[in-house]
Amino acid sequence: MAFVPPKESFAGRVFPVTIGTGVQQTFGGENTLPFHSFEGEIPNRPLIAYEIQDVSPEDWPETVRKVFDGVSGDPVTWAKYCEEDLKAKAIVIRLVGTHPDSKNLTAEDAARTVSDVLGAIKVPLIVLGSNHVEKDSEVLVKAAEAAKGHNCIIGKAQEANYKTIAAAAMANGHKLIAMSELDINLSKQLNILLTQMGFDKEKLITDPMCSALGYGLEYTYSVMERIRLAALAQNDAVMQPPMLADVGMYVWKIKETQAPEDVLPEWGSLEERGIAWEAMTASSLLMAGSELLIMRHPKAVEAVEQLMDELM
């Protein structure tokens, strides 16, 4: 029986999204499943962005916090370190300090931090709130204004607060992350609501919600695969924005990245375990279809970049 490679091609295509002004980055744009360059076009490589915060990362485990010792006390220094020393292709600032349970920093504080960071780096910036629904609508509006003209990504807009955040992103020329909770229908619905208010679907990034390896990864994995298949096979335009995997935040709070070796010797080296956990979570979600990843540990980033080198 002669063998014919069973190639598949799709009618749909993921929208390419370009961010930044000086150094620009583009991700998305493919018309095939992740890394299936043997049967489709993959014009852009997925983008990994380094995560920094507006306040010191006291709650990050020691193994990843120590990498940024000496720079993480100040977001500008931290951002420059990522750009210059770690060769970050993009940077994410998470404004956790604005959360009422954290330092409850004001929207003005956040705007100042965003301006300062933007003044110090050339690579694109992604600006995220603290995931406090009410506070984010204040903070992200000011942050989006402060970043006007820099072609950033603002996020995350959720069902409960999307209107103000999307309006601010639109008015100031930014892209927008739309986040829903692990359900393809919720994800589609939010994208529809956003486009109905006039937000260009080609400027959206879908965040179907990340989960860490061992902590519900299978749900994120399958929701992403289904969204990508809807975009490609069903040519569903609402599902065609690129997808975000917000990896670091979910990985570095679970037991496997924190439990000391003397407590769980059967789990091996804590440091390597944490790095492997972040890298494995990220690479699995790349295979499920994410085009934008947010990560923390340079060694994990390096390994995932190396995997992409072998896959591209």
Partner: protein, 447 residues
């Protein structure tokens, strides 16, 4: 090619005897077409029909067993390309490579790595399943010696013997005769001899060729030599080739019912860096490998690989459940708070993670709600005041805590009265709706 239900029906006895468990032969034929039953269920099927149907009703990816006894691993039998369509069936075996050029100490250490690799995670025992013995020396005697050592020190561990040298193959497979070993290394050049060795040792044959066209003609040839159980190696050099070949093999088998590639796939993930190797192996787990050969088995790497394999191979239609019991988080004492939630694994993981983050030791009561999340379980009547009260009473927690306060999820605040009614002497406190608010909640309660 797959037959339709009607085509299959024509070959059945048409007696409607019901011995197969179905009311009519047609109903049975329909189930056969969907591969939901085995032809063996029909006691009266003719040999001729068996021959025709056996081929057509065989699973698209042939099942092959690696190893014997308690540690045997089943491979193949996959039916879909994406895990959301239907459960992936048999998780890939991880095989640690031991070279016949490794020193005695290294061999010993690797055997210990495999034997000591077992980890219990969410109720499943996970481990490195097999060893891959590679004939790096090119010498038949050395591979044979290694094989004997492994057979003696780890008699229960499944073995893949890797060599293209037929003398080495014959020597090294001997200690594993009848133990469902795999003899890997059949090529166009040595196929006849390798098939003969595999047959006499009752081993499956690992088949390797350059490209999928060559691989499919080679499996046909080997099948004609009387070997049914094969493991196929598409010869991927890079991750990119691995993804391409594995995808084409799975698609050809499942969508085209292309028998020459309907076998479990073996991938070689060895890389010089352990972290990078784990990502390559992870790609194999996600994308259709049935056996993955790795060069090292550090505990941290095993844990990550086992967990990924467990995640990818869970049934998407059945929520993963956690055992019903009261879990201690941190150094919980009789004065520590008591929280309750459902046994949906995601709920458990998120809630227990946030309680851990709070650094406030606590008792976390996980109640069996058939793996539903809090709101769904409440709506389905499985997480109700009286059921919660019963669970708390029967759990024995009353003897373990000094207080009588139960913290319930914010989403079911409505249950607090009902629980207090049924659970005399207890005070119910409504916790936050979202788990991520637990650290603040617990810390302020503790202060």
């Amino acid at each position: 090619m797959a037959l339709t239900g009607v085509q299959i029906f024509k070959l059945l006895p048409k007696t409607n005897c019901k011995k197969c468990g179905f009311p009519t032969c047609l109903a049975f034929a329909m189930k056969l077409a969907q591969r939901q039953v085995s032809l063996d269920a029909c006691p009266d099927v003719s040999d001729e029909a068996k021959a025709t149907l056996g081929e057509a009703s065989a699973p698209p990816v042939r099942p092959v067993t690696l190893g014997a006894g308690e540690r045997a691993v089943k491979m193949g039998e996959e039916t879909v390309l994406f895990r959301h369509e239907k459960k992936f069936v048999n998780p890939p075996a991880l095989a640690l490579e031991i070279k016949d050029t490794d020193s005695d100490d290294v061999v010993e250490a690797k055997i210990q790595d495999v034997l000591g690799s077992e980890i219990n995670r969410v109720g499943q025992l996970l481990r490195i399943d097999a060893v891959y013995l590679s004939n790096d020396s090119g010498d038949a005697g050395r591979l044979g010696t290694l094989a004997e050592k492994v057979a003696q020190k780890a008699p229960d561990v499944a073995v893949i013997v890797g060599t293209e040298n037929t003398d080495a193959a014959a020597a090294a497979i001997k200690p594993f005769n009848g133990k469902n070993a795999v003899l890997y290394g059949a090529t166009e050049a040595n196929a006849e001899k390798m098939a003969e060795i595999a047959r006499s040792a009752k081993a499956a044959l690992g088949v390797k060729a350059d490209g999928l066209e060559a691989l499919s003609s080679l499996t046909e040839k080997i099948k004609s030599l009387g070997v049914e159980d094969m493991l196929i190696d598409p010869g991927a050099g890079s991750a990119k080739e691995m993804l391409e070949y594995n995808t084409f093999i799975r698609r050809a088998a499942i969508k085209k019912n292309f028998k020459p590639l309907g076998y479990p796939v073996i991938n070689f993930a060895q890389r010089s860096d352990a972290l990078f190797e784990s990502l390559i192996a992870g790609l194999g787990i996600a994308k259709y490998a049935s056996t993955i050969v790795i060069s090292s088995a550090e505990k941290w790497k095993n844990l990550a690989l086992f967990t990924l394999r467990q995640n990818v191979y869970t049934d998407p239609q059945v929520p993963m459940q956690v055992e019903q019991k009261i879990y201690k988080i941190g150094e919980a004492t009789p004065d520590s708070p008591l929280l309750i939630t459902t046994n949906f694994s995601l709920t458990y993981f998120i809630v227990s993670g946030e309680v851990e983050n709070s650094k406030v030791p606590a008792h976390l009561a996980i109640m069996d709600c058939e793996g539903l999340s809090v709101l769904t379980a409440w709506a389905a009547g499985k997480f109700t005041g009286s059921k919660i009260a019963n669970f708390i009473k029967e759990s024995g927690i009353e003897n373990e805590v000094n207080h009588r306060e139960l913290i319930i999820p914010g989403y079911v605040a409505i249950l607090s009265g009902a629980i207090e009614d049924k659970l005399e002497g207890w005070k119910v406190t409504v916790g936050p709706r979202e788990a991520n608010a637990l650290p603040t909640f617990l810390r302020s309660a503790a202060a």
